[in-house]
C-alpha cells in the first residue's frame, strides 16, 4: 500500500491513500477512515511512530481468518514506558467482517482514552483487569458477532 511512503518516512502509524472508489482514506491504528481531501493530505496524515505519541518500538501481530473470512487482528506494540502508557503496551484487537474495512468490534488503549472498546459506532470505556481477561472478552464478543448473519 505505501511501500514508497515507508521508504521515505520510515515507520509510520497513519498513512493516507486513495481507496478503490477514489476517496482518500486514512489507514491508522483504528482502521480505515474515509476523509475529505484537504490540500496536501499527505503532509498532515503522517504521524511518526517513534517518540512520545506512544510510538511502536516492536510489534507482534496476528491476523486470523475464520471459516467465513472474517478477520481477527491481534496486535501488540511495545512502546516507550511513559505516563501515557504506564504498562509500555499498546494493543489493538479488531474483528472485521468479511468484505468490510472498518472493524465491527475494536478494543484498544490509545492515549488519551486508555482502555476502551468500539462496537460499531458506539464507544465505551473498558475496565481492564488482566490481558488474559481482555482477550477473552474480545473473542467472546467477536465470536457472537461472527455468528450473526448480517
Amino acid at each position: 500500500m505505501s511501500a514508497a511512503l515507508n521508504w521515505l518516512f520510515g515507520e509510520i502509524s497513519i498513512v493516507c491513500y486513495t481507496t478503490e472508489r477514489g476517496e482518500t482514506a486514512l489507514f491508522g491504528p483504528e482502521g480505515v477512515f474515509p476523509i475529505p481531501l484537504l490540500g496536501n493530505a499527505r503532509t498532515w496524515c503522517m504521524m511518526p511512530r517513534k517518540g512520545t505519541k506512544g510510538g511502536a518500538g516492536q510489534t507482534n501481530s496476528a491476523a486470523e481468518v475464520d471459516e467465513r473470512e472474517n478477520l481477527y487482528e491481534i496486535v501488540i506494540w511495545k512502546v516507550d514506558r511513559s505516563t501515557l502508557y504506564p504498562e509500555a503496551v499498546r494493543y489493538r484487537l479488531a474483528f472485521i467482517r468479511s468484505g468490510e474495512q472498518r472493524p465491527a468490534l475494536l478494543y484498544d488503549n490509545h492515549h488519551p482514552k486508555g482502555h476502551h472498546r468500539h462496537v460499531g459506532t458506539y464507544e465505551e470505556p473498558y475496565s481492564f483487569v488482566t490481558a488474559r481477561q481482555l482477550v477473552a472478552d474480545f473473542l467472546a464478543q467477536a465470536t457472537v458477532l461472527a455468528g450473526e448473519v448480517k
Binding site: Q58, N60, A62, E64, D66, E67, R68, A88, A131
Partner: protein
C-alpha cells in the same frame, strides 16, 4: 523460492499468545517477533474456504503469464472482471498479491504481482 505459510491456529491459542506477549512487554522481557510471511487461519476449513481453486488459479496465472492488468488477468482465466477484482482484493489484503499502479498516458493500470512461489501449510497437533 519464497514461501508463505498458512498456519492453522485456533483462536484460544492466539489469545494465549496475546496474554503472554502482553505480560512479557509489561514486565520488560524480550518478545519474539511474529513472522511476517504467515497467514493465520482458525481451522483447516477456514484455510480451505480461503484458498479456492479460482484464487489459486489467479495466483498461478499472475506468476506464470504476467498479466499487465486486472482486466488482462480476468481474460486469461476467463472469468468475470468484478469477481476477479474481488478475489484479488482479498488476496492483497492478506499480503499474497500486490497491485502496482502504472500510468499509461492518462490511464492508470493495476498490475498484479504474486509475492510468493509456494504456500506451505503448518498445523500444530
Amino acid at each position: 523460492m519464497k514461501t508463505v505459510t498458512f498456519s492453522i491456529r485456533p483462536l484460544n491459542e492466539v489469545a494465549d499468545d496475546f496474554a503472554k506477549t502482553y505480560d512479557a512487554v509489561r514486565t520488560g522481557r524480550r518478545i519474539s517477533k511474529a513472522s511476517r510471511d504467515e497467514v493465520g487461519f482458525t481451522s483447516i476449513e477456514a484455510a480451505r474456504n480461503f484458498l479456492t481453486r479460482e484464487r489459486l488459479s489467479l495466483m498461478r496465472t499472475i506468476r506464470t503469464r504476467h498479466p499487465g492488468s486486472l482486466y488482462e488477468l480476468a481474460k486469461m482465466v476467463n472469468r468475470d472482471f468484478k469477481n476477479v477484482q474481488e478475489d484479488i482484493r482479498i488476496l492483497e489484503r492478506h499480503g499474497l498479491v500486490r497491485i502496482s499502479k502504472e500510468s499509461h498516458g492518462k490511464r492508470t493500470v493495476k498490475v498484479p504481482q504474486v509475492l510468493f512461489d509456494e504456500i506451505a501449510l503448518k498445523i500444530a497437533i
